[in-house]
């Protein structure tokens, strides 16, 4: 990739090409399945310890420490345990996991076997979004290869450990990126999030203790086992964030794409201007959505923030899945928030009242404003609705829908007012 900066250790991007996909490449060029062998010689506690040391935080969006999550599985439980990979990659703006599955599927498979071994699970599923048909086929092929060579199945590498892995395709529902929605979908149900507690670690897939991890999270595991948690942690530039991170950059930039950067190593400005070649057409930057479309929007003045979990949280947004969407001066922000809100209304599962009713209501109001039928009170009403959704819903989709609306109204209020005053019309 042309823009990928150098000068630091990367784990993925040098392998993001078609040849890397084969088992032969994986074994010869990426120390394939050596981490698994090493893991088999370690105790589960030792692996979790190493994971904790790595400061690996979930790459799906929530940023929860992976080692700690694995530790939640009740050891004494006699129920079948499950390890599920969240490959739904549904947060708009995110497309990094697709590259991992497309180019380095064995990394994910190896990571999953290690994860399964650690938590005592012999059954794994990769829940992949339905649209990724090609990636599902590639994963299937890699899994077949792994079975054939004894990296999956019974008595893996003579360890006595068994692990079965199945690719399960979603069918078009953003909400299945939410882990309990995903589990329902895996079980053949509507992908509606579940009431928590119980949390998946107690009762997840098919009622068994379950860990759900993102693709990148699991793909990081072999590196951590091979080179040590401390080494991984030091790849990151901030104390609490280890490793490198795959950033998905899209929108109005000259070089959109997936970039691998040290966690906490770059500001948004550096990513947009130095890594991605600046704003499309040399235009002025207007706004940045720093973590997938559910992240509150940042203005052009706010981009000197380090692109990592805590720094972005501090300024009222979130890093989420590290999906950065860049917006230049020509973009109408009212139209953009209408599109974002339409998405969340479309993807609301419909179970809980604030999300089902509120998301559509917000979309209708914004739509009305765009068509010249807005009133100034509508802006306060929108803010009220976001407050009434935020933190009141059954899952995080409500917050995901409310946060952007609140931030757009707050930060780009004059654009809304222009429509309401009739100075602009869609």
């Amino acid at each position: 990739m042309s823009g990928q900066p150098t000068g630091f250790e990367t784990l993925y991007v040098q392998h993001f090409n078609e040849e890397a996909r084969s088992l032969a490449y994986y074994l010869s060029k990426m120390d394939g399945y050596t981490a698994l062998k090493k893991a088999f010689s370690m105790s589960s506690d030792a692996i979790i310890d190493e994971m904790k040391k790595s400061n690996l935080r979930g790459r799906g969006g929530a940023g929860f420490p992976t080692g700690m999550k694995w530790g939640f599985i009740p050891k004494q439980s006699t129920k079948t345990k499950y390890l599920v990979c969240n490959a739904d990659e549904s947060e708009p703006g995110t497309f990094k996991d697709r590259d991992i599955m497309r180019y380095t599927p064995h990394l994910l498979i190896e990571g999953m076997v290690i994860g399964g071994f650690t938590i005592g699970s012999s059954v794994g599923y990769i829940y992949i979004r339905g649209e990724y048909t090609r990636e599902a086929k590639l994963l299937d092929a890699a899994i077949d290869e792994a079975y054939e060579k004894g990296y999956l199945g019974k008595n893996i590498m003579g360890s006595g450990f068994n692990f079965d892995l199945t690719v399960h395709r979603g069918a078009g529902a953003y909400i299945c990126g939410e882990e309990t929605g995903l589990l329902n979908s895996l079980e053949g149900k509507r992908g509606e999030p579940r009431v928590k507690p119980p949390f998946p670690a107690q009762s997840g897939a098919f009622g068994g203790p379950t860990i759900v991890n993102n693709v990148e999270t699991l793909a990081d595991v072999p590196f951590i086992i091979n080179k040590g948690g401390e080494w991984f942690s030091k790849l990151g530039k901030l104390e609490k964030s280890g490793g490198t991170r795959l950033f998905s950059v899209s929108g109005h930039v000259n070089k959109p794409g997936v970039y691998e950067l040290p966690s906490g190593g770059h500001t948004l400005r550096q990513i947009i201007y130095d890594v991605c070649g600046g704003v499309l057409g040399g235009k002025k930057l207007k706004a940045v959505i720093p973590g997938g479309s559910s992240a509150p929007v940042l203005t052009a003045d706010e981009i000197d923030v380090v692109a990592d979990i805590e720094p972005i949280m501090k300024i009222g947004s979130m890093l989420g899945s590290a999906a950065i969407m860049v917006i230049h001066e020509d973009q109408c922000m009212v139209k953009l928030i209408q599109r974002i809100t339409k998405f969340y209304a479309h993807e609301s599962c419909g179970q809980c009242t604030p999300c089902r009713e509120g998301c559509q209501w917000m979309e209708n109001i914004i739509e009305r404003i765009l068509h010249g039928e807005g009133k100034m009170e509508d802006l306060d009403l929108l803010m009220d609705i976001t407050n009434n959704i935020n933190g009141k819903t059954l899952c995080a989709l409500g917050d995901a829908a409310a946060g952007p609306v609140a931030s757009f109204v707050k930060k780009f209020r004059p654009e809304f007012e222009a429509y309401i005053r009739g100075e602009k019309h869609a």
């Binding site: 549904s90 708009p92 497309f95 697709r98 339905g130 199945t166 399960h168 529902a173 098919f206 599109r339």
Partner: protein
């Protein structure tokens, strides 16, 4: 009633069955496989799937209708699903959609009278770095623009 789904369908389900602790978990894979075979999911197809899995046809429909990839109505031979979510919309997806509407003479959600093309707006396909993107049946087409769209439509027509 004569079976609508092929031996191949039932064979693939049988192979998949040991992969899950419950039979209901086969529902999504079964719906995918049935749609691949028949193009869409008719009430009769869903009834047959329900019978195979051992669930009420209402349960099949409640699941099938939750997910946007399942076609509960027949679609054209070529199903164009153009992403208009943030990244694609920033990169001109709506121009491509409008162009398609004009060129095919149908609105989003419709099928051409010759049953060749169905046009849909799609939510994020996870191909934002190569926006605008669309799905043409089961495959991705990326870095779309009007010129590229024209080429595609020409080839298919």
């Amino acid at each position: 009633m004569a079976k609508l789904l092929s031996e191949k369908f039932y064979g693939s389900m049988k192979k998949l069955e040991p992969r899950y602790p419950t039979k209901v978990a086969l529902l999504l894979p079964a719906l995918h496989a049935a749609q691949d075979e028949l193009g869409w999911l008719s009430p009769e197809t869903m009834e047959e799937i329900g019978e195979y899995i051992g669930i009420h046809p209402a349960q099949v429909k409640e699941v099938a209708s939750f997910y946007t990839m399942y076609n509960l109505k027949p679609v054209g031979k070529y199903h164009l699903k153009i992403c208009t979510n943030v990244a694609c919309c920033l990169r001109g997806a709506y121009d491509v959609v409008e162009h398609c509407e004009k060129k095919l003479g149908i609105a989003v959600g419709q099928t051409t009278p010759d049953k060749k093309f169905t046009l849909h707006e799609e939510e994020c396909l996870g191909a934002c770095g190569t926006a605008p993107a669309m799905m043409l049946n089961n495959d991705y087409v990326e870095n779309l623009d009007i010129r590229k769209m024209d080429e595609i439509l020409e080839k298919l027509n």
